[in-house]
């Protein structure tokens, strides 16, 4: 007798539900657990710097890792619906403005790693995706990513995560649009447009078990790569949390210091791939009097502007275009930084 679809899937559904419930229970009770472990089990006195640091770490580290696993799994499944080929097909021949918006949005869900930025760039511009639209994608894809959003949500709350998402998209759209208006095609290396792009891959049809498996692979791949940075970042953050005096950062990264935003952007450029480790540190600094706009600018600069990416893109872009590209994105980040320091 053939079992129905539902009967075959039932055991797995039960397991999945149990896992989610367990996840939720642990997540909800972490705060109490961290306090109990720190002050009752380890026996640190409450109010001591060491106690504050240890409690911070025991609370934040598992919380962020739990969130990461769940969100990366979900995003990993969503990404199986968005291949670079499909994204390109959606963007081909788009008019600029609408194309920039679409490209920035697709940048969030299309699988991307900076090591394939170049083949992707060639694949886009040689098949009729406008240069500015391609840039919107290339800005949004690394900057607005699930790891950064999870860390922001876990450590700062949903408002900052949404702000980051919104401003990240805004910068990608505007910077891509401006770059498109400037007609910079002549600064793309000549051989790029001369490349005859093949039409690769027949798309493989994926069923749900395969999509779920790919979600699991994404967790292994991404969480496997960043967990150490997350823990290190939270450990440093915990130290700052316990030991650095209140308002210590106000003079350096506070609203009063006008130069703090550009400085944050400049400092952010050489830092790369440690975004996962930097956000917890930055969060702790914020608690000591740093201004939110400055902190956002720093984060965007770390994640969105990186020297290794510039070096990779140099293969297809002439130096002038790289400078213009970085200049415009940095300008967008500066505006965001000042804006939030003014408004909030």
């Amino acid at each position: 007798m053939k079992t129905s679809f539902f009967q075959r899937r039932l055991p797995r559904l039960v397991v999945a539900t149990l896992v989610l419930v367990a996840w939720w229970l642990v997540y909800r009770n972490l705060a109490g657990l961290a306090g109990w472990l720190t002050y009752s089990v380890v026996g640190l006195s409450s109010g001591s710097p060491l106690g504050a640091a240890v409690e911070f770490f025991i609370f934040e580290a598992p919380k962020v890792l739990l969130l990461l696993v769940l969100v990366v799994y979900g995003v990993g499944i969503v990404r199986t619906f968005f291949t670079p080929e499909r994204t390109r097909a959606l963007l081909q021949g788009r008019r600029e403005s609408a194309g920039n918006v679409l490209a920035a949005l697709l940048g969030i869900v299309t699988p991307f790693c900076s090591c394939s930025a170049v083949p992707l760039f060639i694949g886009f511009v040689t098949t009729g995706v406008p240069l500015g639209v391609t840039f919107s994608f290339l800005i949004s894809a690394p900057m607005v990513n699930e790891v950064a959003l999870v860390l922001l949500f876990g450590l700062f709350g949903w408002k900052v995560a949404v702000l980051y998402l919104g401003t990240g998209l805004f910068i990608a759209i505007i910077a891509g649009w401006v770059l498109g208006r400037l007609k910079l095609e002549r600064y793309v290396e000549e051989w790029v447009y001369a490349t005859k792009t093949g039409n690769a891959m027949q798309e493989e049809a994926l069923d749900w078990p395969a999509r779920l498996r790919l979600g699991g692979e994404a967790v292994r791949d991404i969480v496997g790569r960043v967990w150490l940075y997350v823990l290190l970042g939270i450990a440093v953050g915990a130290g700052i949390h316990g030991y650095v005096p209140e308002n210590f950062m106000a003079s350096i990264m506070g609203k009063g210091a006008w130069w703090s935003v550009p400085l944050a952007v400049v400092l952010g450029v050489p830092m790369y791939s440690n975004a996962a480790g930097i956000i917890p540190v930055v969060q702790a600094l914020l608690g000591k009097g740093a201004a939110l706009g400055t902190v956002l600018a720093f984060m965007m600069s770390v994640i969105g502007l990186s020297l290794p990416e510039a070096i990779i893109l140099r293969k297809v872009l002439k130096p002038q275009l790289i400078v213009i590209f970085f200049g415009i994105v940095a300008g967008g980040i500066l505006i965001v930084g000042y804006l939030f320091n003014l408004v909030l």
Binding site: T83, C115, S116, V118, P119, L120
Partner: protein, 77 residues
């Protein structure tokens, strides 16, 4: 004679894919050559936008990920 090509600019995943493809071909007892394609315009010429990619006898089989050994065996067999 199978011609296996690994497209990629030398990232960690590209090396891993090359190793897996090599192992799979050996396990199948194929006669084969394996070659790494690192030139960007050649990679683009295959229409690949997401490295690493596995090409067998000129056809792109996988792009953007490193499949399990068993899956690679099926792809190159």
């Amino acid at each position: 004679m199978k011609k296996i090509q690994i497209l990629g600019t030398g990232c960690a995943k590209c090396l891993k894919l090359a190793a897996v493809a090599d192992e799979a071909a050996k396990a199948l007892g194929l006669e084969y050559t394996i070659e790494k394609v690192t030139n960007l315009s050649d990679i683009a010429g295959f229409g690949v936008m997401f490295t690493p990619a596995l090409v067998v006898d000129g056809t792109v089989k996988v792009a953007g990920k490193v499949p399990a050994l068993e899956d690679v065996k099926k792809l190159i067999a």
